[in-house]
Subunit: 348 residues, 2 copies
DNA sequence: ACGCAGTGCGTTAGCGCTAACATTCATGCA
DNA sequence: TGCATGAATGTTAGCGCTAACGCACTGCGT
């Protein structure tokens, strides 16, 4: 007997591979590949049989290999600044879901200051990212947008209120949502309705205010008062103090986000007011705070995860189209909002 | 003239590749690879020159290709249940940072109910993950731990208070941290200190309570009162009501997390008490709530991102060691906590 | 009878990178 | 002089997967 046929110098790295499936099915790996991707011409019979085997063997294609072979792994950058932690985590989960499906890479950079934006952008360039996702509030930062444009990186702005053509964007109709919320308050019988604005630098904040104003105007009403905030809990406290210590109190306060709405409730409680008995308070975003506050907030639900998924999909499509030569035009998507009625607002 | 030499049937997929660098440096790609990985025998001169070129060309190795060729891309699963959104986002960022460095994959599954855990675990098996990360509170779920062990998946528990040997874990010293916080309150002159517990099912919660008790005992004191909570804002409200409406009020309340501390402050305000004038309130976790509450919370800072990074590193090392044949033993790491003094606690 | 289009699959050549072995060229030393 | 020694670099063979093309075979019109 001669020497045993020693072959495996390179160890097996992954569990089941496409080759295993192909072998078991008695076809070439290409056929299996075609089944996985649901394309190409494969007879229904073969397709079914292979599908069966895939399930049986518990085979899951390696996104890395797939990316390498086809699209070339795309690198997506994500710039964030800690807004509401709850928003970010939902957003990240959405992004990850989509990214892990395709095997692409995600690179995170925090930028809390304008200088940090500069640093992050050059970092992204170094890392060779192919596109960048900008969740709020960065999606409306001129600086970030400019820098990225200069670096030639496609950008998808999420939840931006800008109306620029030629920019990839996933939007929420802030205006319509604010109108809907205001109409809800009106329907409850409120006539003295005040508003706490978000950060005036953000266009989405302006759209929310506009929606509020127009809904009132359509009912022949004027805002009872408009207090300036900047989306922070802190600013909500101050706005609430101004509103509630005034001579004539509103019967309802619409805050441009949940953080501020929560702050308003806190001050109302300190003034001995019952929510919603003496004062209705509503928010916007349906963040975690909306349900951890007491009473729970009536608010506008934004499908954050869904928007994140859409953003990645849009960006990926754009990047690949560009790589394939065609200058892919910009498109934008609109996500649906939903009015969530909870306990913080009641009929007058 | 004959036909032009048409070659590029397959398009260029990535920007600069290792081959470009090698060509420019006049060496083989292996040498460049060695420089990148900082291993192998390469003369200092060559190493320096190539390093230079890499920087110049702005080359970044493709994690996907790297993984494919070497370790085989590792698939890491992450089970989560929406605890504090702020915690999750910090945690995710830490995880992502580490994962994107290595080009591995991350698969997320939400499990809010026991049944969801079953579903998630079998999903993970289907997806062929090599290891699983369990952030709190799942890190202490017997069910999740058992199921995963049965499936043969290595697990790293983060911020668990379990002391099991043979389990990968990244821990915070909850006991010591709670003692430190209690001593802080004592140093401020408080003698009537009450505690709001976390979810009794979580061992970390028990450790925090134990730290509190022991610190008092060391000072010859007894807890003024101990109210049961479960980490939720809601439970904090109820605990606070019990504590503050009692005959003899405490002068300080230590809540086992920030959510409940925030709830305590809210109730205190409603009872007309000033924080920290009439009542000191402290939390634990240093979540976003700690700074969005008013006044800002004195709390214990947990290096969440860092712990997440450590967890991934530990898990990856374990998985690779296992794959290489050796049965890698379990190890655990301890992360540092820090007392953050803000405005919600003052001297008596 | 011939061409030609359309199916259903297989073959080949990589994607960007690394493990394992191979080669080259100076040394050292008996 | 001969040759093991080892340092610096190159070659080859993949990792798991897909794009692009190839090839046999069927059906159909003329």
């Amino acid at each position: 007997m001669s020497r045993a046929p020693e072959k495996p110098q390179r160890r097996r790295l992954q569990g089941v591979t496409i080759a295993d499936v192909a072998a078991r099915a008695g076809v070439s790996i290409m056929t299996v590949s075609r089944v996985i991707n649901g394309e190409g011409r494969v007879s229904d019979e073969t397709r079914a049989r292979i599908g069966e085997i895939i399930r049986e063997m518990n085979y899951a294609p390696s996104p890395a290999a797939r990316g390498l072979a086809s699209a070339g792994v795309t690198r997506i950058g994500l710039l964030y600044t800690n807004p509401s932690g709850a928003y970010l985590s939902e957003f990240l989960i959405g992004v990850m879901d989509e990214i892990s499906r395709t095997g692409d890479h995600l690179l995170l950079h925090r930028c809390d200051s304008p200088e940090a934006i500069d640093a992050a952008v050059s970092k992204l360039a170094e890392e060779g990212v192919d596109g960048v996702v900008l969740p709020p509030p960065l999606c409306d930062s001129e600086r970030a947008l400019d820098l990225l444009a200069k670096a030639g990186k496609p950008v998808v702005a999420v939840a931006t209120a800008r109306e620029d053509e030629g920019v990839l964007a996933v939007r929420l109709d802030d205006y319509a949502a604010a109108r809907t919320m205001t109409e809800h308050l009106l329907a409850l019988g409120h006539r003295k309705v005040a508003f706490v604005t978000g950060d005036a630098a953000q266009l989405a904040a302006q759209r929310r205010l506009a929606g509020f104003r127009d809904a009132l105007a359509a009912a022949g009403l004027e805002p009872h008062a408009v207090a300036e905030g900047d989306y922070s809990y802190r600013s909500g406290i101050e706005a609430a103090i101004g509103l509630l210590d005034a001579d004539e109190r509103p019967t309802a306060i619409f805050a441009a986000n949940d953080d501020m709405a929560s702050a308003v409730m806190s001050i109302a409680h300190r003034r001995g007011l019952d929510v919603p008995g003496d004062l209705s308070v509503v928010g916007f975003d349906d963040s975690l705070l909306a349900v951890t506050s007491w009473p729970e907030l009536t608010t506008i639900h934004q499908p954050i995860g869904e928007m994140a998924r859409l953003a990645i999909e849009l960006l990926l499509r754009h990047v690949r189209a560009r790589r394939a030569g065609g200058e892919a035009g910009a498109s934008s998507l609109q996500a649906d909002y939903r009015l969530v009625v909870r306990e913080s607002a009641a009929a007058l």
